[in-house]
Each structure stands twice: as C-alpha cells, then as structure tokens.
Amino acid sequence: MCDLGIVMVERLDPSLTSLIVGEEHSAAIVLCLTRLMEETGATHIMLLDRAGQILSWQGGDQRQMEMMHLGALLAGTYATSREMARLLKEDGFRVLVQEGMREKIFTETVEDRWLLVVVFDHQAHLGLVKVLAKRATQSLAEILHIIVEQNETRRSQFRGQVRKAAIDTIDLLFNDDSTAESNRTTEKK
C-alpha cells in the first residue's frame, strides 16, 4: 500500500465526532513511516491529526512523553501558521521546517487534515527528507482515505462495546473527589 499514487481524501465532515483506525490500517501506516525512517535516517517520525493526537509514531519508546508534548506543540504551531496564512490571504503553509543545532523538524500536511512529522539530526539531509516525505504523504493519504470511508461502519460496532463502560469508568474514577465536594456542585440536567 505504500507505493500507491496520489489520492485525495475527501473533506471530513466537521461534525464527525470520532475516527477509528483499525489494526490493518495502523500496520499500513507503520510500514510507510518505517520505510521513510529507514530511507531518510530520521530519528523519529510521527503521524498526527490536526488536534495533535498521535496516530502513529516510530523511533523508540523512551521519548514517548516528549513526543506527546511535541505533537501538541506542532499541531498548535501548524494551526497558528494556518491562521497566519489566512491573514496573508494564502491558501495555507503546507510545510514547516524548524532547525536547531543538533536536531531538525520537518512537518508536512497530509490532505490538510493530518501532519507528517520527521525529526532528524545532522546525518540526514533536509532535501532528501522533503522529497521522501512528499512521497510518503501520498501513500498515507491513500490509507487515510480508506479509514475515513470505513469509519461509520466501525463506529457503530465500536460504540456499543465501549461507550457505556467508559462512562462507568469515568464515574468511578471521579467518585472520591465529587462526593467530597458534592455540596458545591449544581449539575443541571
């Protein structure tokens, strides 16, 4: 699936409340990211949604928490750059590059809905990262297109399984705090 051509992912319904990424599609994304990492010599690669949530990331578990923070910051930076583009009457900035003394970050949008992030050091070249990332975004767009297409079917299956249990878990988790302070609470149904 990693070598498919350009496919436009249709605009997501803005009122869509959840997106389910199945195991087979996760595997396909991992394959693309792994290949990109091998070919570029990057240290870390992530695929984020625009809210900063990580769909997939490669590069070892030791920096997981840092990557989560990085994801939030990059999504915020990208969203800010969109606002800047809007002010300048630009369509958008598709690519962001941040260069430090040791590490560089290259971010490219995938169909304006997801962000491909490549973290690399002096051993990788920006030009190579740009070219290969461009190819990877095309492959990722194909996978994401299928995920979006199949989402509604998956959602209806998933909803029944998990939602009730999740709400019970939330009640259980917050029970101690809420009972201690319940006299201050005035939930309006």
């Binding site: 009122s15 939030a72 917050f174």
Partner: protein, 191 residues
C-alpha cells in the same frame, strides 16, 4: 474529533478550557495536574509570557484508565484569554471534542464573559460544529468572592442553552473535578 486507535488500544480526545482572561482556566489544569495519581500524570506544559499569562496554551495529557482494554487519554488544553490572542484561540480550539467554558463569576466580569462566550460560539460554528449538539460544560468560577453574581443571574446571562454547569472555586479545587467528569462523559457519549 476523537481518535480511536485499535492497534494501540487507545482512545484520544481533546478538551479545551475556554474563557476570558484571568478566569481560572490555567488554575483548573494546575489543580488537576496536582491531584491526579502519578501513574496517569504527565508534565503540565505551559507556554506563558514572562508574567505567567498564557501566551499559546497549557497542555496536560491525562490517562483516565482502561475500558475493555482501551486506554482513555484526554488532552486538556487552555486557550490564552487576553483579547489580543483571538486568532491563537481559534488555533487551539481546532479539533476539540469538548469545551469547558470557565466564566469569572464576578459582577464586573460579566461583559467579558459574554464577549468570550459569543466568540466561542462563533469559532465553533466556523469550524463546522453544531453548537447545540457540541459537548459543552460551563463552570462559574470564583464563587467564593463577595463580588460574585448569584448562580441564577449567571444562568440567565451565560447559560441560555442550558448546558451542565458547575459552581467552582478553582484555586482550592472545588468544582474542578466535577466539571472535568461532566465534560469527559459528554465527550465519550459522542464517540
């Protein structure tokens, strides 16, 4: 839009604390960060000015536990409240699954609350959300102050669409977790 990763068995959601400047959005996150168990806690990331006003956002990833083998993880954000940062608020609000509107209950902040609430409604609508269906919870903060308006008055002006609302004194933790629980449930209900 919440993200459900079946392979990683994770459910991710984004909750944004919105409201006028100095209403207590960051305080909510600080209290949550201080009280949650170490096992579900990460660092609270704050992008603030030299005077500790929020410049970009505060960010706190929060693990709520496992359900049917899935880890529920919410990303909590605040927006910068100052009027100057209106476009930054749009950026942070992007992709939110739920919003907590933190109102400053003091009488002289009512106009600021109304302005911020109107801006929130405008921004959500611009992002294609249907306001009446969107997970939204309201928190009336600083209710301990003598200048705080009574709850029925705040309801009349701020909660015309009758979303769940909570009185709070965020600085001592009162009402903070009730608010978080309510918005968490609303978000999960929309999965």
């Amino acid at each position: 839009m919440a993200l459900i990763n079946v392979a990683a068995r994770e459910i991710h959601g984004k909750i944004v604390y919105y409201g006028p400047g100095l209403c207590g959005k960051t305080t909510n996150l600080q209290i949550i960060h201080g009280k949650i168990p170490q096992s579900g806690r990460s660092d609270l990331l704050s992008i603030a000015t030299e005077t500790e006003r929020t410049l970009f956002f505060d960010f706190l990833p929060l693990d709520l536990g496992k359900v049917h083998g899935f880890t529920i993880r919410f990303h909590l954000y605040t927006v910068p409240g100052q009027i100057l940062y209106e476009r930054t608020r749009v950026a942070v609000l992007n992709g939110a699954d739920g919003v907590v509107f933190v109102a400053d209950a003091q009488r002289d902040r009512l106009a600021d609350n109304l302005q911020s609430l109107r801006e929130l409604a405008h921004n959500l609508t611009n992002q294609g959300k249907r306001l009446l269906e969107f997970p939204l919870v309201m928190q009336y903060n600083k209710m301990d102050l003598p200048t705080a308006l009574p709850t029925p008055v705040l309801d009349r002006y701020l909660n015309t669409i009758k979303v769940p609302r909570f009185e709070a004194v965020a600085v001592d933790g009162s009402g903070v977790f009730e608010t978080l629980r309510a918005i968490s449930k609303l978000v999960v209900n929309k999965l």
